[in-house]
């Protein structure tokens, strides 16, 4: 409880709330699209680079088990999400698969807020977490999109959707940054470090301001999606976080690492997944999957999820 409250006095969470307020009071605040794009590029490169540099210092053995566990959850979580939607919620196939793709993938910003949170607690996660982020981003989308294909004899837009995800700018920059960071190593990284580390938290602050504005628009659509989706958007993250905590701890991650890992798994994509789903499943409704991932799960994780996963992690680990 205390952790939740203290989370509400964190700069990035407050920026998010400020963004929501700006829509509530109908402020004419406008966040220029190029700024939004620039910060995205910056954040993705920054986490990639830092992760790559860290990876170049990490023995392979230490990294191996967490990577396996990540891929495993990347395959399982879209299936659980699909099953819940299809068989409990009675949602149709396309929409079930479309939403499942979002919950199988991952939200970069939620991930970053979790890292911030743990750093402020003095428990920074392992340096290779961005690599796990990259590993988790794609499989969930693929698995989910393959479901309708496996069930029916649909036309093969999966390939196109796959290309979209793999070459999408977010995955491209993240992996590009990882590789560059890995090659460059800690010494040569120093020249660009002030730019990519010093400004990081501030850029994240601005980004959450913008996301707050976007989320506010999505929250307005809550009434359109029905009560089941709202429950889904809150409970499924928690449901996904629990095995993530257990497996993360089992794979040898620290408390910080487990919390961030659980947050990743619990988070829902709202950038890579929508683009892919729009292509592969054009009849799935964006109102539903965007409202669920961006309007419900995202704010839930930022405000309550992260402190909760941290609390559960400490219960289990320590």
């Amino acid at each position: 409880m205390e952790t939740v409250l203290s989370n509400f006095s964190s700069p990035v969470v407050l920026a998010f709330i400020l963004g929501i307020c700006s829509k509530l009071v109908k402020s004419d605040l406008e966040f220029p699209r190029p700024l939004y794009q620039s910060i995205s590029i910056y954040l993705l490169l920054a986490i990639g680079l830092k992760g790559g540099v860290e990876l170049s210092k990490t023995p392979f053995a230490e990294f191996f088990m967490p990577a396996i566990v990540t891929l495993l959850l990347g395959v399982v979580t879209p299936l659980t999400a699909y099953a819940i939607l299809r068989y409990i919620g009675k949602v149709d196939i396309s929409n079930s698969a479309g939403i499942a793709a979002h919950y199988g993938s991952v939200s970069m910003v939620t991930f970053l807020v979790a890292i911030s949170f743990m750093e402020q607690k003095g428990l920074p996660p392992e340096g290779f977490m961005p690599t796990l982020l990259a590993l988790l981003e794609i499989p969930g989308i693929i698995v989910a999109l393959m479901i309708p294909l496996a069930l029916s004899s649909k036309k093969g837009t999966l390939g196109k959707a796959l290309h979209e995800v793999v070459t999408g700018s977010s995955i491209f920059l993240l992996i590009g940054g990882l590789i560059i960071g890995y090659i460059v190593g800690p010494v040569k990284y120093i020249s660009i470090e002030p730019f990519f580390s010093g400004g990081f938290q501030g850029a994240l602050f601005l980004f959450l301001l913008e996301l707050g504005m976007v989320t506010a628009n999505r929250i307005r659509d809550l009434k359109k999606v029905g009560v089941f989706i709202i429950f889904f958007g809150i409970l499924v993250p928690v449901l996904h976080a629990i095995p993530a905590i257990l497996l993360g701890a089992w794979a040898g991650l620290s408390i910080g690492g487990v919390t961030v890992f659980a947050t990743m798994v619990a988070s829902a994509s709202y950038i890579a997944a929508p683009a892919a789903v729009r292509i592969a499943l054009p009849d799935a409704s964006p109102s539903i999957y965007l409202t669920a991932s961006l309007g419900i799960t995202f704010p839930f994780n930022i405000a309550f999820g992260i402190p909760l996963y941290y609390y559960l992690t400490t219960l289990i680990m320590g």
């Binding site: 699209r33 359109k224 683009a275 109102s287």
Partner: protein, 100 residues
């Protein structure tokens, strides 16, 4: 000055379809096109690219046959599931033979 009467087709769609529509109009015989960024509202509610805030407006000057072919293809491929508006307009083009 010699002016050739041609069709100007305007297509406003979610940003996301840009690449595909460009390919489509090229395959239908358009010799060129011009794109501007736009935002808009229509019958359709929310869409995937909405939170990035942008549509594209594609204009292409073409012959009557190419126009018909473009309209047909777009109607078939996108009208069911995507936010698109298409309209045509008679214009007079300088050096019009370049665009036929």
């Amino acid at each position: 000055m010699q002016l050739t009467p041609l069709k100007c087709i305007t297509i406003v769609s979610e940003r996301f379809l840009k690449k595909e529509i460009i390919e489509l109009i090229k395959n239908s015989g358009a010799k060129g096109y011009t794109i501007t960024d736009a935002v808009g509202e229509g019958s359709r509610g929310i869409r995937a690219s909405e939170w990035e805030g942008k549509n594209v407006k594609i204009e292409t000057i073409v012959s009557d046959e190419a126009a018909e072919s473009i309209i047909k293809s777009i109607s078939n491929e996108y009208f069911a599931n995507y936010a698109v508006i298409v309209y045509t307009n008679e214009v007079k083009v300088v050096r019009g033979d370049k665009y036929i």
